[in-house]
Symmetry: C2
Subunit: 306 residues, 2 copies
């Protein structure tokens, strides 16, 4: 039931996923049973690939996350997390209330052993066609150096396993290139990254390098990362409004990337944009599948060991 | 002698300024006397508008600011600050080593009474042709709420007096719109801005609003502000490389704005980009003139009183 175009677009996405994947994953659809049944029939989604779990309630896009999760235990998001926590599903994908998805992931799904705090990342399109990864992009507005050091490891494993970058270049987002630059947080983080044997640390990068192919994984606290991501997202809107159709700016339409996984929790939780259409839902399901196939969580756990 | 094209481009800028302003300000040129004399003759700059002060040394663009200022007391930057501090000139403009200009401004020029720390700002071009102001953009990587509250006042006075915005809308850069959002710093800053009678505070803005005409003055600590500014600057480079000539992206060529003043010091100090050409120098001199004509420093002082 999540997202601005639910349940039609999520179901269209499921249909596309089933056609493209030959139905490798079994999809549990959580939401209003009668609406879903009608659409499943209309779209001719084969019943062998899906299970419907009824949810009486929906958490609105503007509701307070913690309050809504507490009071709406029969919402599709609450039930989804319950199914995931109890092992009845292996991954949970939604374009619903972002805050509720985050709170649900943090409080109902265990963190990977050793993880101080989970994080959320975003891909950043590069001019050369590649994509970089930036994290944290808003889950942790205040961070300690040790957290940034863990984000570097989790981001690096994700870039390797999911984005297919063999030895991801990890960089610290900073206000200057030289070691010793920056605020207290990044000054204390730099030596940790430098000594971290689990990553390929290349030093500091600056704001001007974010859109360039300088680093594969860019590390920052969630305040700066969130501002950067939202500014990057706005470039697509600007280019649309300015009637500036250009391949590069089209790639700032973040819907095409599907959604962003919560990294550091023990099971795949993927959060899509509210405006997600069918393709985004299909991509989110493929991402969940890949995270499971690559055994991402265990690989992260292993790399996080000192 | 500052900037990549000194002393030719600064002198061309001086010539343009004199033609455009009818020589309202008298220009003291600090640098290598023989080079300057030759160029002044070549460019036919009338001697009635200028005074040449010889400087034996030049601080290179990559030198360590504090060390260079200490060791090169006969550099054009050191002498410039000496002239400004002693009242022999009323404003100091340079496109030289940015760090040395900042250190010089902070340690040789008094702060305006009551100012905790000076700040540097940048204009941000908007789609509708207007410009916004963002500060701090790198001078203060770690800030206290009281500093951000002062940046709001200084930015607001600057927007009013220099950018000509009657009642500048001041906003706090944050990760969400609602009060209470954000990291510890902005959570503590919000109530200060809300209660500040010297500004027109409109609340939080997000990264997606930076390029939009939502707020005239955008407040943040210097870490985030620096990342945002450098990312904005890179948009011009991206659009050039992508052969994407577009009026809006052309305005991200920050050279056209001249330079950025150090706000909060008692006399005008304006720092230009290293790549500044004649037009940028001319604009910096006009900016210095306007700051004096508008009595900007005294107006800031008045608004900073509780």
């Amino acid at each position: 039931m999540g997202g601005d175009f639910a349940p039609l677009e999520p179901l269209k996405g499921v249909l596309q996923y089933i056609s493209d994947s030959n139905g490798l994953a079994h999809i549990t659809l959580v939401g209003d049973e009668s609406q879903i049944k009608n659409l499943v029939a209309q779209l001719k989604i084969s019943s062998e690939h899906i299970t419907i779990v009824h949810a009486d309630q929906v958490i609105g896009m503007d509701e307070s996350p913690t309050k809504a999760l507490k009071e709406k235990q029969k919402s599709s998001i609450s039930i989804g997390f319950h199914l995931l926590a109890s092992g009845k599903i292996d991954a949970f994908v939604s374009a619903g209330n972002t805050g509720a998805m985050l709170v649900g992931a943090l409080f109902t799904i265990k963190a990977i052993e050793g993880v101080i705090r989970p994080t959320i990342s975003s891909v950043i399109p590069r001019e050369n066609g590649k994509t970089g990864l930036i994290l944290d992009v808003g889950l942790n507005a205040d961070c300690k150096p040790e957290q940034l050091n863990q984000f570097a490891v989790m981001g690096s494993v994700y870039a390797q396993q999911i984005l297919g970058i063999e030895s991801p270049r990890v960089a610290l987002l900073n206000v200057g290139e030289e070691e010793g630059k920056g605020n207290i947080l990044v000054q204390a983080t730099y030596p940790l990254l430098k000594e971290n044997k689990h990553i390929h640390f290349i030093g500091n990068i600056e704001g001007r390098d974010i859109l360039m192919d300088k680093a594969d994984v860019m590390i920052c606290e969630g305040f700066t990362g969130n501002v950067v991501l939202k500014m990057a997202e706005s470039l697509y809107e600007v280019s649309e409004r300015q009637n500036l159709r250009h391949e590069y700016f089209d790639r700032f339409n973040f819907e095409i990337y599907g959604g962003t996984p919560v990294l550091g929790v023990a099971k795949p939780v993927i959060i899509g944009h509210g405006i997600s259409h069918a393709k985004a839902f299909m991509n989110m399901i493929f991402l969940a599948q890949k995270m499971i196939e690559k055994d991402l969580m265990n690989k992260m756990k292993k790399e996080l060991e000192p």
